[in-house]
């Protein structure tokens, strides 16, 4: 297993972890509305009317 | 073993077989010919030059189940080089030749001319030139001539089946598609002799008793 492949494996793990978080929260940067930015840890939510 | 004294210098001299009538005296380097119980000194043969061959008289080797010992050597010279031929004495009293040339070894046994189908033999007999590429069939293996040279014997030692003094011959090397190799020779006044065998490495023949050289790790060929 080359060094590059090891780093890539960790990277893929990260991608999958991120997608688990996104799925759990129903999150997508492509949605029409709702939370669309990288706001995992901050508050996010609806705009005020 | 027939023991006697060298007719030239009086040193002890031994012959192990009637098939090997010539022995180069270890002390005075005269070629001694034995006929029956009589010994005759044939003249001094040149010393073998100091070379870097790992082989020496007394080296033992093995081909399959049969072992042999190197008991004689002839050095042949041609225009662009020289090589050694070592006489291999097998346990059953038969002999073969271990040719040593350019760092490669060939183990050859004499072949009965009846097993040979080739123009090379007749060409040599009649004194015509043999061209490289001429085919030969020896014991059902196909060969072709790769090298044609005039050679002369420049040095010898140990026990030999012939008197090598001043010997000169036409020597033809033959190769085959696999590791078989052959040699066909005709010396002036002698019959055409055909030898065939194959390329071997020192490991293949499990050589023991090789010469040691300073700074060179000695290989241990067993099994």
């Amino acid at each position: 297993m080359s060094r590059h492949s090891l780093i890539f494996g960790v990277f893929c793990l990260g991608v999958v972890m991120l997608s688990v978080f996104a799925i759990r929260d129903g999150y997508s940067p492509f949605a029409s509305a709702g939370a669309r930015g990288p706001m995992f840890f901050g508050g996010y939510g609806p705009t005020h009317k | 073993m027939f023991r006697a004294n060298c007719p030239n210098c009086g040193a002890p001299i031994a012959f192990r077989s009637a098939d090997l009538p010539v022995k180069v005296c270890d002390y005075c380097h005269s070629a001694v010919l034995r006929t029956g119980g009589n010994l005759a000194a044939m003249g001094k043969v040149a010393d073998v030059p100091d070379d870097v061959s790992p082989l020496q008289l007394g080296v033992r080797g093995r081909v399959g189940a049969r072992s042999f010992e190197l008991i004689g050597r002839v050095r042949w010279r041609y225009a662009d080089g020289a090589w050694n031929e070592w006489l291999a004495w097998f346990d059953d009293g038969s002999t073969g030749w271990l040719g040593e040339s350019m760092g490669r070894y060939m183990l050859l046994r004499q072949v009965d001319p009846a097993h040979v189908v080739s123009d090379v033999v007749s060409l040599l007999k009649s004194g015509y030139a043999v061209m490289p590429g001429t085919k030969a069939m020896i014991d059902n293996v196909e060969y072709w001539a790769s090298d044609v040279k005039t050679v002369s014997c420049v040095a010898s030692e140990g026990e030999l089946p012939f008197n090598s003094l001043g010997l000169s011959a036409q020597s033809i090397d033959l190769m085959s598609a696999d590791e078989h190799c052959a040699s066909i020779q005709k010396a002036a006044g002698e019959d055409v002799e055909i030898y065939a065998g194959r390329y071997v490495t020192l490991a293949d023949i499990a050589a023991t008793g090789l010469r040691e050289f300073e700074g060179w790790p000695m290989p241990a060929y067993e099994a």
Partner: protein, 477 residues
């Protein structure tokens, strides 16, 4: 040699002679004097060496003549090999001594060949193309033909690389077992398999086959104590293995596993669930209509929400929909909009259609709670040039000619035509865009490695114009 060095007049060894220490093993190196320049020349393979080129004056001396007759004088400047003559090194468990050095060229590239010697192994060649080193050994057996696909030797299959090409010797120093000389020209054909090259040389009717195995980076440099070459792959040898191949395999395996995991994880998100649905009528070119879907309940946590509108009877008309998902308690709203539209007509190319009658809007990360979805609809008729209206007409009395200065997009009386619109709200499901983004991100590295590997193979296979790349050995008689 053997123990035949006793004096003739003292054949029986005396006890003193027997206890004398044995003579040390002789050295393989024999120093002699060059008859041309007087310098010391070391003969390392006495008895087999045929020509030795003095390293001081470059004269070629005949090693088969007792007085080292000068065969030729040097007519070019002497070069010093990178690995000095006489250097001993261990490669793959065997000790080799450098006894000769040649430089050869194929008229495009010049490379170096060292003649190596071991008294028990014979000769070998060390071929240096400036980047990599190869260890060459003469074949004992001829290669066999491999069903027209190339050659087989020693259990490997080789395919021909390029056409036969001439190779000239341009520099020699040291000793050789053939009459090596500057100007010696052979015809060479190369056959390759990853890691090994079979070099076939024809010289004056004699053919020699050499098998060259590429050594690892640094293997020869460490053995013979010279500077290590830097790893680079700008011009690979014809038989060089791609350093990217195993990396490629690993990258794709990891990538595929990651992609499959991504799909599985998405699958576990569960499927979409309908949580509300209402149908209403929109009047074409009529006043704006507001529809409230009450009590849209989202579970605790955060959810994906999808709002679909279905207006399948649209033709040459559209409905603007404004959605406002309002939290019942806080009155905070999440706003979005969609457009249901459909247009058709004929022109010189035939009939055409355009538009989406079922627009979808998806919302990300909506917090749990009770919401009202306020939908504002506004339907319009389109009267573009060349259009033929085929919308269902419910009140023909209102059809009539009216001027349309704005090309059909302005509001005007559509004649009271109504279009049913169904609005549905779903919760959950997956964002297709996320999955595609994830896949692309995962595939970046495997694709990079693939291009690196393909680039390497392309450079490796490039045959230089006058023949193939370097690497071979010389041996003649």
């Amino acid at each position: 040699m053997s123990d035949d060095t006793l004096a003739p007049d003292n054949p029986a060894p005396t006890p003193e002679a027997l206890t004398a220490p044995p003579a040390p093993p002789p050295s393989t190196v024999k120093p002699v004097n060059c008859p041309n320049c007087g310098g010391t020349v070391e003969i390392r393979v006495a008895g087999t060496t045929v020509s030795v080129i003095c390293s001081h004056c470059g004269s070629t001396l005949d090693a088969t003549s007792p007085d080292l007759q000068v065969i030729a004088k040097a007519d070019e400047a002497l070069k010093t090999p990178e690995i000095p003559l006489g250097t001993r090194g261990v490669i793959k468990g065997r000790t080799w001594e450098v006894v000769g050095y040649q430089e050869r060229t194929d008229e495009e590239v010049t490379w170096a060949e060292y003649l190596l010697f071991n008294p028990y192994e014979g000769y070998a060649f060390l071929v240096d193309d400036g980047r990599r080193f190869n260890l060459g050994l003469l074949l004992d057996k001829l290669p066999t033909s491999n069903w027209g696909l190339g050659l087989s030797a020693d259990g490997q299959n080789f395919s021909r690389f390029g056409d036969p090409y001439p190779v000239h010797t341009v520099f020699v120093v040291g000793e050789f077992y053939w009459r090596a000389a500057v100007g010696e020209t052979v015809q060479e054909t190369d056959y390759v398999t990853p890691g090994t090259m079979l070099a076939c040389e024809d010289y004056q009717g004699e053919r020699t086959w050499t098998r060259l195995d590429m050594l690892e980076w640094g293997e020869a440099e460490t053995a013979f104590r010279i500077a290590k070459r830097r790893k680079e792959y700008s011009s690979p040898a014809p038989h060089e293995r791609s350093p990217y191949k195993s990396q490629l395999f690993e990258a794709w395996v990891i990538g595929v596993i990651a992609a499959v995991t991504l799909f599985l994880v998405s699958g576990m998100a569960g499927s979409q669930q309908r949580i509300a649905s209402t149908t209403t009528d929109a009047v074409l070119d009529g006043p704006e209509k507001t529809l409230v879907i009450k009590d849209v309940v989202l579970p605790p946590g955060r959810s994906r929400v999808e709002i679909d509108a279905d207006a399948t009877s649209l033709d040459n008309s559209w409905v603007d929909l404004d959605y406002s998902l309002t939290d019942q308690k806080t009155q905070d709203s999440i706003d979005s909009y969609g457009t249901a539209e459909f247009y058709s007509g004929t022109d010189s190319d035939g009939s055409w259609t355009e538009g989406d009658r079922k627009p979808t809007v998806d919302l990300s990360s909506i917090p749990g709670g009770r919401y009202d979805l306020v939908v504002t609809l506004s339907a319009h008729k389109w009267n573009g040039a060349g259009s033929s209206s085929s919308a269902p007409v419910t009140d023909t009395s209102l059809m009539g000619g009216h001027g349309f200065a704005d090309g059909g997009w302005g509001s005007s009386s559509g004649g009271g035509v109504t279009v049913p619109v169904t609005v549905t709200v779903d919760r959950g499901g997956v964002f297709g865009g996320n999955i595609i983004l994830g896949l692309l991100v995962i595939l970046i590295w495997p694709i990079i490695v693939l291009f690196r590997h393909l680039g390497f193979e392309k450079r490796r296979k490039a045959v230089l114009s006058s023949g193939s790349d370097d690497d071979d050995s010389g041996s003649d008689d």
